[in-house]
């Protein structure tokens, strides 16, 4: 087995045994039950509303998991001192970074897929219609977006303390969610440096909005063309590759402090 796969497997075991995912799954189930029992704006019990809320929570929980899981991987190794026992084996820093990346990305994607399944299951149980082809596309693109979020967390954590890396990754991803899609609109009202800054942000930050297929699924617009899905996924994979490279570059020459557990 390739060494980075062994390291990725350890990330899976850690996340599963820390029980963060179960807590979020239970929380999602509880929130969906509350949504279905309350009658907000006369929408109580509407299956489409439950699916809408369920997928929104899947994005929020996936975001939280991706940033927190990825940002703590490398700093935890140094804090525990286990980075020394790992790198004293024929494990390169590249193996370590790739293993951590693959492990955190795959486990967060799997957890998010389970959130989608729960939301879709609840919707179907309430008699709602779920287009499974569109749902599959939504899960796939969401998984790619999670890879970008994990990559950001990992890159920042290659040089920063885990908490600082997570905080920075939350800020950057939130800005990418909230500011980037509206940047062209803001740019028309700005001139000079502010417009240039917005332009830079628009091109530099990831465009998470292109990975978000919630509306298609909730309003039953049917699946998107697979070529479009493929192009968006290719954009996401290119970002992931860049972030992996940045993380490895930052970690390659890092000098570790000696840990005292």
């Amino acid at each position: 087995m390739m060494r980075w796969l062994v390291i990725a497997w350890a990330v899976w075991l850690e996340v599963i045994r820390r029980k963060d995912v179960y807590v979020l799954l239970v929380l999602l189930g509880t929130l969906l039950a509350v949504v279905l029992s309350l009658n907000v704006f006369g929408l109580g019990g509407t299956s489409r509303y439950a699916l809408d809320v369920g997928l929104l929570l899947a994005w929020v929980f996936g975001w939280i998991l991706a940033v927190t899981v990825a940002s703590r991987q490398l700093p935890d190794e140094e804090e525990r001192g286990t980075v020394f026992t790992l790198l004293a084996k024929p494990v390169t820093r590249f193996d370590l970074v790739m293993g951590k990346y693959a492990g955190s990305w795959s486990v967060v994607a799997a957890a998010t897929a389970s959130f989608y399944l729960l939301a879709a299951g609840v919707t179907a149980a309430r008699g709602g219609r779920v287009d499974f082809a569109a749902l599959l596309q939504a899960v796939l693109l969401h998984a790619v977006a999670l890879g970008v979020m994990c990559g950001l967390g990992l890159w920042f954590s290659a040089r920063l303390h885990g908490d600082a890396a997570a905080a920075l990754a939350f800020v950057v991803t939130a800005a990418a969610f909230l500011v980037v899609p509206r940047a062209p609109e803001f740019m028309t009202r700005q001139t000079g440096l502010a417009a240039a800054g917005l332009m830079l942000l628009y091109h530099l930050l990831p465009h998470f909005e292109v990975f978000d297929m919630r509306r298609r699924v909730v309003h039953d617009f049917g699946p998107a063309a697979w070529t479009d899905v493929g192009l968006i996924a290719a954009y996401g994979f290119a970002l992931c590759a860049c972030l992996a490279l940045l993380a490895w570059t930052a970690f390659r020459r890092r000098r570790f402090s000696r840990s005292v557990p």
């Binding site: 062994v6 350890a10 020394f84 004293a88 084996k89 024929p90 840990s259």
Partner: protein
């Protein structure tokens, strides 16, 4: 015969405290295969830094380090190495057995060979079935030290590098540790270890080296290094103080 460990003119510098701190200052050291080599020095002498250079964690500013003739910076040089760091810790979410299997897989061991080796190592470090099945989070300090030593031995290494391995261990655990070291020596393995426990070092080492201020102060056979009528502790303090005076 290729030496197990070779360091030539190794210099390591850190930036800190408004200047450059020289952690290793042209360290030369050779450890022949099959020896149990005690690496002594006061706090801050550069023992751990030297080990980190050997393991490729730190790239020296000058000089070179070799393990069994291979450049220590290359990951492949660590195929036949086992390392126990100072104050070791492990993945606490794993059981003892899982940790050893994880470590073995990093050496591309698998299947029956891996299972047999894990069982052998558990026996070697004195952890029974019940302990091996428990999460490491529940281990005592002594058990943690044993499982971490286990992960260092899982690949049946030719060179075992141990950084302060007896720190905080009770007398029983120390005795067990000595037995493991003797077992390794009997099988022709090279053991390179640092310790502040001079009595411990006297009991198990064939050769000793003392470093101070990042330089080798003295090196020789354990039986011949200390002058007749002097104890290792006294000799250690004398040579370290003399080295400090020379440097001052």
């Amino acid at each position: 015969m290729v030496p197990a460990i070779e360091m030539r003119g190794v210099r390591v510098e850190y930036r800190g405290g408004g200047g450059v701190v020289r952690a290793l200052d042209g360290l030369d050291l050779t450890v022949q295969t099959g020896h149990v080599f005690g690496f002594l020095g006061p706090n801050g002498a550069g023992k751990t830094t030297a080990m980190h250079v050997l393991l490729g964690f730190i790239e020296p500013a000058a000089g070179e380090a070799r393990l069994l003739g291979e450049d220590a910076r290359r990951a492949a040089s660590r195929e036949r190495i086992g390392y126990l760091p100072e104050n070791p810790d492990a993945y606490r979410f794993l059981t003892g057995r899982e940790l050893l299997a994880f470590s073995g897989r990093l050496f591309r061991m698998r299947g029956r060979a891996l299972r047999d080796r894990v069982a052998r190592v558990l026996d070697l470090v004195g952890l029974d079935e019940a302990a091996a099945a428990r999460r490491i989070a529940t281990y005592s300090r002594g058990m943690m030290q044993r499982i971490c030593l286990g992960q260092a031995l899982v690949n049946d290494p030719d060179i075992v590098i141990l950084d302060e391995p007896t720190n905080g261990l009770d007398p029983f655990a120390r005795m067990a540790f000595r037995e493991i070291i003797r077992g390794l020596r009997a099988r022709g393995k090279t053991v390179f270890f640092s310790s502040h426990e001079l009595s411990e070092v006297e009991l198990v080492c064939d050769r000793l080296a003392i470093i101070a201020g990042g330089r080798l102060v003295t090196e020789g056979a354990a039986s011949g290094l200390v002058p007749e009528g002097e104890r290792l502790e006294r000799h250690f303090m004398r040579v370290v103080e003399a080295a400090r005076e020379r440097k001052a």
